[in-house]
Assembly symmetry: C2
DNA sequence: GTATGTGCAAAGGCTTTGCACACGT
DNA sequence: ACGTGTGCAAAGCCTTTGCACATAC
């Protein structure tokens, strides 16, 4: 299954997101496309201000509006980064996903995936709720801080 | 194991928290005690502003300072309530804990516990991190909003 | 050509801080 | 008595909103 595009996994998400944005009746506008392409290049979560800082030519309000729209369409999702901060990262169109481990001391974030955990999560049923997604954050201390 | 105090499970946490606060060299002051007693009575997470609203005689800054200290001592922890809001709830001294399911539409929060999930979580090992805690949030739509 | 999208600047909401006074030990 | 704790008000941050101009379709 490995293909030549494996080294640029973001291309898939970028074009997928662009398609979905258009399917939703939104325009393929310059500023929003810059946000999409930037997020497509990231492997892990960035805060709204991180995104804004990386795109000096895009207004901050536009960054926030783009985040809102992308989240609405389920193209990105928010993750708790500790310390009153939220990050955003792309949602893999294949359904593949990971969770995060955050260092309490320095705020360092690393992704991780665990199949047993996913199984356990998908077993959960809750009366009165239709569950659509889940977020798991592990907290601890990283080597540098320990 | 059921005892007469089961109907007031919060008493344990309240006195435990008070003891820990004093052990940390902090004083048993009026305002902070009010925050502790209030949190002890809650069964689920409250935001800083919820806490402030419930304690009109305690200054807002004091509420935030108390939250900071209680979190530092691991007597409460923060939970993601969706929509840019964080809630705080007591940490059970017996180690007992639950997670949350949040309605995307109305923000309703319900606690849940799942033993298989806890097992899976405790199996996780991650090089370069000493894991101390975890947070799990399920998201979905509740009956009223569906 | 028209409705959507954008950037700026202002407003808003939550959280933190500075400081003088109050209180616990 | 001393140092911690408190409340108020001001400042700080991040996020959202209003509005005139620009751009995609």
């Amino acid at each position: 299954m490995a293909t030549a595009t494996d080294s640029h996994p973001s291309i898939d998400w970028t074009s997928y997101a662009t398609t979905q944005i258009q399917a939703a009746g939104l325009r393929r506008s310059g500023a929003r496309q810059k946000v999409i392409q930037m997020l497509g290049r990231q492997s892990c979560a960035l805060t709204a201000l991180d995104i804004d800082a990386k795109l000096p030519k895009v207004g901050r309000a536009t960054v926030y509006r783009a985040i809102e729209q992308l989240e609405e369409l389920n193209l990105i999702h928010r993750v708790d980064l500790g310390g009153n901060a939220f990050g955003y990262e792309k949602v893999d169109p294949t359904g593949d996903h990971h969770h995060h481990i955050v260092c309490d001391q320095c705020g360092k974030v690393e992704p991780f995936a665990d199949e047993e955990l996913e199984k356990a999560i998908h077993e959960i049923r809750r009366n009165g709720f239709r569950i659509s997604s889940h977020e798991i954050t592990l907290k601890g201390t990283c080597q540098n801080c320990d």
